[in-house]
């Protein structure tokens, strides 16, 4: 598998990143090197081996009781936001 410019365009779009043509070529070459490196893993025989979701096998994930433990700290959170209005975070218009 090798990465072409179309794939770079798609990834850039998905990641909301923008590159000029030189940048794209640079990214393409770097990504190809990464893919090549990772491809070594393909040599390992994984037949009949269960996919691993975590390196910790001993227990199940932790669970908590269904109890409200958090209070309203809206003002503190809003203090970090560039723009707010009537309790909302304000962002550039996004309509799909």
């Amino acid at each position: 598998m090798s990465i072409d410019i179309q794939t770079v365009n798609k990834l850039a779009n998905l990641s909301k990143l923008e590159f000029d043509d030189t940048g794209k070529e640079e990214v393409r070459q770097k990504l190809n090197k990464i893919v090549e490196f990772i491809s070594q893993l393909q040599e390992v025989d994984t037949e009949n081996i269960e996919p691993m979701a975590s390196t910790v096998h001993a227990t199940s994930t932790r669970e908590r009781e269904d109890k409200v433990t958090e209070e309203n700290h809206r003002d503190e959170f809003m203090a970090n936001a560039p723009q707010t209005e009537m309790g909302f975070f304000v962002v550039p218009r996004v309509v799909e």
Partner: protein, 483 residues
Amino acid sequence: MHPDYEMVIGLEIHAQVNSKTKLFSGSSTTFGAEPNTQANIIDLAMPGVLPVLNTEAVDAGIKLGFALKARVNRKSVFSRKNYFYPDLPKGYQITQFELPIVEHGTLTIDFEDGSTKDIGITRMHLEEDAGKSVHDFGDENHSHVDLNRAGTPLMEIVSEPDLRTSEEAGIYVRKMRAILRFLDICDGNMDEGSMRCDVNVSVRKKGVTELGTRCEIKNVNSIRSVVKSIDYEASRQIDVIESGGEIAQQTRLWDEAKGTTRAMRSKEDAHDYRYFSDPDILPLCLTEERIEKIKQAMPELPDEMKARFITEYELTNYDASVLTLSRASASYYERTIEAEEGKKHDPKLCANWVTGELFGALNKMGKDITQSPVSPENLGELVGLIQDKTISGKIAKQVFEEMLETGGAPKKIVEEKGLVQITDVSALDGIVKDIIANNAETVEQYKSGNQRVMGFFVGQVMKQTQGKANPGIVNDLLRQNLQ
């Protein structure tokens, strides 16, 4: 619907778990709170925080698994679904992808003619909801974000493409909602968004086995819209095919006001979600002990209650399924049977009155069973009056109208209005004889074989008795006297 085509429909239902807190944080999930007052550091994706799973949501998933006769996976895995949107602070949604908590279930839907159909359930997984973006508020260059809903636990229930008509889809959603409510794991309020529906529709020529290209319809927020959007979308697709075109795989948006669907995005620019298992959360492993405990505590579900009503009360399949669509209507019905101490009211007659007169009247008033002006005790008493022949069925309808208006007790209404049925044979015989004597011509018609004039005589008796004559006795007397 074009007679040569059939629809193939699959549904994705998002049901909000009615837990007090979010799937991975201790923030409250109360509906309608001030914007952003129920979003904490975890929901806002502050650096360094870790999600911890809500045990209530897991239990809800196990319960639904049993109710859908599905496999409850002993091990399931939470994954990250990556996309960028302002109402998703983490830049990914935590959901279950390859290993959901529940797989391979069935939901049985009931039709009016008493028949049933099994609809396959592909899977059910747990996931967190996103926040809400408001676009029609403030100036037009900005959107406003409320993160109260971010992290709310959802159960996504995916059906097999087993539904063939919009009607079936409507029945399926109603049945699913009934099950969720019986289990008390989701309030099922579609207008508050605690139950939402995405519809997948394709069409194909009858007899064809391959599936056509499907479109997914989003933003369908009521059972009525489920039915309407499917009908619209199917005929749109048939029109495209019939005029020589091809269906493009798309996500479409239901426009409630216009009653149409419109393209939202095509498959080419569909998201690539780059799923991977979430390193912050270990796999969820369920012990046999936990599963068994939940299994033992399962409440009676609509299908089991339906089966009990059929055997215990000898109801038809359909009546039983209608009565068991909500716990409230089932218990209302059972209370009409047991309304009077030491007396059991005819279960079939009670069922007729509840599903017929009462549901009809409530529907007209736009009320549900919990708001009924007629109490189950009073309706049971009314059935009792018909049963012991104090009043006729016809008079009962008159009494029922009065009960709807005043909420009064039927015995009192019958007494006050003098509506007690006349069962005195000799009194009725006198009236019958009079009528026969005064209508010689019609009697001749009857004797020469025109049985239909019987209705005229019955009508005359009822007129004279203001409808209070016992119809059975009147019929017998007329037949005897006309011999």
